[in-house]
Symmetry: C7
Subunit: 94 residues, 7 copies
């Protein structure tokens, strides 16, 4: 298993279709893609100036939106992940 270092988390990337509120799937060719992922592991968090640690806002199992081009793609044990700084996660699905 991979454990993220520092203020990073590990994501499983999710291929998301564009759906309307009523659930109808729309072709979405021209639109910019939204980047969703599922949090698989969470690092120790951010080190503050006084040395204390601040955990990321997200937890294992959360579905999150992340910034395009952010993070390092990693292949481990035949599966693909994204190791990404917690600051590059922009929103969480509730």
């Amino acid at each position: 298993m991979l454990k993220p270092l520092g203020n990073r988390v590990i994501l499983e990337m999710i291929e998301e279709e564009s759906k309307t509120a009523s659930g109808i799937v729309l072709p979405n060719a021209a639109k910019e893609k939204t980047y969703f992922g599922k949090v698989i592991a969470v690092g120790q968090g951010q080190r503050l100036d006084d040395g204390t640690l601040l955990s990321p806002e997200v937890k294992v199992g959360d579905t999150v939106v992340y910034e395009k081009f952010a993070g390092n793609p990693v292949t481990y044990d035949g599966a693909d992940y994204l190791v990404i700084a917690a600051d590059d996660l922009v929103a969480v699905v509730e």
Copy 2:
């Protein structure tokens, strides 16, 4: 529902026509567009050096002006949003 992370907010983007004070709509071809949005959700805010949190100045329901090219466009449940750093909001309509 999407919840913004960190010092970010989520906006519904507003298509605004240029109106004079008297309400007459003017064609506005040459002018630079103004970017308006409606605040849909507010993140936990900015983390100060001593670890305390500072909420964004804006609240849900506010109409705001945001910087061009700022933020991440996100499509969720068939609707389009902009997840944007609170620091990239320049003004609020009162």
Copy 3:
């Protein structure tokens, strides 16, 4: 009405002719333009490291000189404004 956020102010831009001290208007083709504006609204100011707020040096009604290319042009209610960081104001007319 628009209210600026953070350490920003809102300006009405002023078209200024070049005048000599004796009031004679000189053609000023080759010279670099000076950017004048009138302060319409003032944001809450700059957040210091300890979380306290520091108001901008300028107040509503001041005529100021601002840096070229700074700020966001905004059209609201048929009028044009510039929302600009207080740090991009370089001088005030007294």
Copy 4:
């Protein structure tokens, strides 16, 4: 022997094949490579603002994933190593 300075570690780079969970080796031509290394030596760590030292999260013997293009390749005593900032290690294998 080489000892890393500051908040750096020294890695032996590992050539990793892509394996599925069941251990079958897949040709992986198109995919981006994952960069694995084994920690050979650990520096004194990060100097905090108050002058105290904070050891890296990893220890000698750990297998880590590191950022592409990070670190300085070093040849010493006929063997190749990577001297890399601890902040450029993104994950550790557990």
Copy 5:
């Protein structure tokens, strides 16, 4: 009158000829120009982290050398000035 904002000063730019110590004026075509100015007004100074203000080292009437390309040229009341950050003044004539 113009008053500089923040840690800025206002200069009258001085056209300086190259003179030897004995006062002979030398043609100085190939040399890089030195930028002299006279301090006309001084801003409130630099804001330290704890919120206190630190006045610029120069005072009204000083002749100073400033960095090439620094500052904003301003025309006010028919005269030309340079509004410049105090940190871009490199030396003062004593």
Copy 6:
């Protein structure tokens, strides 16, 4: 003699051949060069925020590895040196 200023050290650059553990010299045409130097002099060190000085980790006589393109080459008294920031030394030979 030259004394480095600030958090710098002075190195004698070393031309190093690639040797295997058994001492056989291998031609090393394609490989990236490793940059070795011998520490000749050490500056006063790094100034922390509170004004205290922190000596470099290395001492006179140490053999170190330094980052490519870092430092200033200096010729003094007919000999060549590299004056380099202590932070650009990546490892020390023990």
Copy 7:
């Protein structure tokens, strides 16, 4: 006389020939030039975060090595000087 501002010093630039330890002057066409100067004046020094001043390490009369391309060339009273940040001095001759 010129007095440097802030953490700057003023140098007289020195044209230095390459000499061996035995004093023989070698033609030095291909080598990178070393930049020597003599300290003519020293500014008040570096302002620390708490507002106190820290004098430069060098004093008037010192011969120093400075970084290529650093500083502002200044002509004053027919003589040429370099006004340079104290941090861009890399070594002092002892």
